[in-house]
């Protein structure tokens, strides 16, 4: 790519300095209108309404070409959608133009929470309340919901907490997180003797936990070691590729993993220790409490970690990797550590699911799931334990709730349309998530004002461009 030697490439936009021709006045007015923020937002809201109609409309059928689109747009349903989005536009425009009054009211409304929440005792109280609720409420639910609690909510909360360590604390984008889950699940199958390959000794699935943790951590170290030197986007793609590879390998290695049909008859958990005998059968509640136990352990462990030297090192690496290295932090080691710790949580989840369902197949470990967990973490708030828990719980609960009470034409298959939109909207409007970690919120706000960067992926220089080499005289 050759250098441009001082040649202006486009004429800089200049207002014409000649007298306006007829018709130009109208053109100018149109241009001015198109630059008006309110008008722009209105147009966006209309388009958004149409898109919303498409999303909430009926399924299309390709052979009948645009049937889906026709079905959605030519139906009175479209007006409801437009009403919703234009309504949102009205709210935003009002807020924009009456900013002072709005701030005043919102200031008063938010005053109490703002004053009270930072207090540690209040937060601890909230956690305890949540914990009490989590223990007392579930037995009152019907079996459908108990199942949801286990398979959709509980497991994914655990997974979100684990991925939060990787993405939230260390700022590493892992798009192959589900691979460690697979390792946990297959470990369970292996050590209980259900895989075509047989282990040296058969274990009770409960005792698979430590082994699965170690195996997953090892996998994390092996994957992370070489790849964590890469910059953020590359790391993401490599982990994605790795996740794909794992799935294909699981599919193809018939003799080891049981191939595409998967593994069946994995035994349920049972403990037989010191006279205490308990067997987890088909009922959901016992699994729920088992998962809850792990969640609590993970929360306690990771909370301590966050406020320790390790947590601070992660924050330093995220803020400014060069400065962190200069302060004696072995950045690679800490990145691999985050990766391995996150992997172990995923592995644990894999063991639980394998023994609960009793059946494991490669189709369970799609990239889509890795991305789902990512959505949960981001929605809840990267780097925030409360965020991971609440975000995962809410986003996993909502689709199930809509299944039972279908509002507004919700269709199971549309789920990822919403998730995709959520990701984009979150990044634009609330990147710190639902319940942000305070540090993260600070980092993002600072980055927007040009002070430092909010993640470890920035390598310092001005936007755009493959400068072959940074200016040698400047700071890295």
């Amino acid at each position: 790519m050759t250098t441009i030697s001082g040649e202006a490439v486009n004429h800089p936009e200049r207002m014409a300095s000649r007298s306006p021709a007829p018709g130009e006045g109208r053109y100018r007015a149109l241009v001015r209108l198109s630059r008006n923020d309110d008008v722009r937002r209105f147009v966006i809201s209309v388009v958004g309404g149409l898109v919303l109609a498409l999303i909430t409309g009926p399924e299309g059928n390709g052979v009948q070409m645009l049937s889906g689109i026709n079905g959605a747009l030519l139906h009175p349903h479209v007006f409801i959608c437009l009403a919703v989005t234009v309504g949102v536009w009205v709210l935003i425009t009002v807020r924009h133009h009456f900013a002072r009054q709005v701030e005043h009211v919102s200031g008063r409304v938010m005053a109490l929470p703002k004053a009270v929440l930072p207090d540690r005792r209040v937060r601890a109280g909230l956690w305890l309340a949540l914990f009490a609720f989590a223990i007392i409420y579930p037995p009152t639910l019907n079996s459908f919901w108990q199942n949801v609690l286990v398979e959709q909510i509980g497991i994914y909360v655990l997974l979100a907490i684990g991925l939060n360590v990787v993405v939230g604390y260390a700022g590493l984008l892992d798009l192959g997180y589900i691979a460690f889950f697979a390792i946990g699940a297959y470990s369970d199958a292996y050590w209980t003797g259900m895989l075509p390959v047989h282990p040296p000794l058969h274990l009770n699935p409960f005792w698979v936990f430590p082994l699965a943790i170690l195996t997953a951590m090892l996998a994390g170290v092996l994957l992370g070691g070489p790849t964590l030197r890469l910059r953020g986007d590359y790391l993401a793609i490599v982990t994605l590729g790795f996740g794909e590879i794992i799935q294909i390998v699981a599919n193809n290695l018939q003799g080891v993993t049981g191939g595409a049909q998967g593994v069946i008859n994995i035994p349920h958990f049972s403990v037989h220790v010191a006279g205490i005998k308990y067997h987890w059968g088909l009922s959901n509640l016992p699994y729920y409490y088992l998962i809850l136990g792990f969640i609590v352990l993970a929360l306690l462990a990771y909370f301590s970690l966050e406020h320790s030297k390790v947590g601070r090192a992660w924050t330093a690496i995220r803020e400014d990797e060069v400065a962190a290295e200069a302060a004696g932090i072995n950045t690679l080691k800490y990145k691999v550590m985050a990766f391995a710790i996150g992997a172990s949580t995923s592995g644990v989840a894999g063991v639980i699911v394998a023994s609960q369902i009793g059946f494991v197949e490669p189709g369970d470990f799609t990239v889509q799931l890795s991305i789902l967990i990512l959505v949960l973490v981001i929605f809840g708030g990267m780097g925030s334990l409360a965020g991971a828990v609440v975000g995962a719980a809410v986003l996993q609960w909502l689709p199930q709730f809509l299944r039972v009470h279908p509002l507004f034409g919700y269709n199971q298959l549309d789920l990822y349309i919403y998730f995709g939109a959520i990701l984009i909207l979150m990044m634009i409007f609330r990147p710190e998530g639902l319940i942000p970690s305070r540090r993260r919120r600070r980092e993002i706000v600072l980055a927007e004002h040009g002070v430092g960067s909010a993640d470890a992926m920035e390598s310092g220089h001005s936007g755009g461009g493959l400068a072959a080499v940074a200016n040698p005289e400047a700071d890295l």
Binding site: S304, S308, E319, N330, R440, D475
Partner: protein, 283 residues
Amino acid sequence: MSAPASMAAAAAASGADGDALVEVRHVTLRFGGVTSLSDVSFSQRRGEILAVIGPNGAGKTSLFNCLTGVYTPQVGEVLFRPASGTALSVVGTKPYKVNRAGIARTFQTSRLFNALTTFENIKIGVESRFSVGPLGSMLHLPHTRRAERESDAKVVELLEFVGLTERANTIASSLPYGDRRRLEIARALGTRPELLLLDEPAAGTNPAEKASLVELIRKVNTVYGVSVLLIEHDMGLVMSLAERLIVLNFGQIIAAGTPREVQQNPAVIEAYLGAPESDEDGR
């Protein structure tokens, strides 16, 4: 530049060989077509305050980067001989290891952890010297708790030393400029260095802050016994602090010696196009 003059410069640059803390030998650093440093050799004595001066673009920060393992010169060696521990060849060593060995640095534009408080910034520097692992942190082992207490104590000590005790809980990004400089020095000191590299510590500071920075740097040298290598443009500051100077121009050492000697060196005067200005602000 004529050969005898450059050899004289090299000789003056090495100082007395005996107790060399750092020896830079024939370092050449190239980036594609640009030669940033060319056959740079000098050494720094233990306990010395040495200053590197030179016009913009002379290669000073590149030199720092070579001294801390951030850049790897194509030619040459950098030998570091800390009193504690074994000698280290910096070339090809990762920056964090170089820091562990005893070289700490600050940056031209303060690279603080902006979203963290003053206290936390320093603490990160301090605790890099404690070996605390994830397990210990998760389980609150006694070893970990002791490390926390000790590192906290050290941070408090450093806060007092640089005069930032009042601002311990301020978020780093909201610190006034002069305090940001101090904080960076405190963080660097937290890593228990024997050699502290300061990259334009006084850039952009007003005369009052400058004076107190001079005091601070001198204290670092006398109280903690840390050798200092600093890049500076402000000749007044350099004159009052440095025992010896090295002058870089276009990646080469053109002069070295005491401040007085260097100021009268014709090559130096030529490089600066006349008398060096005594109050050049940062960028």
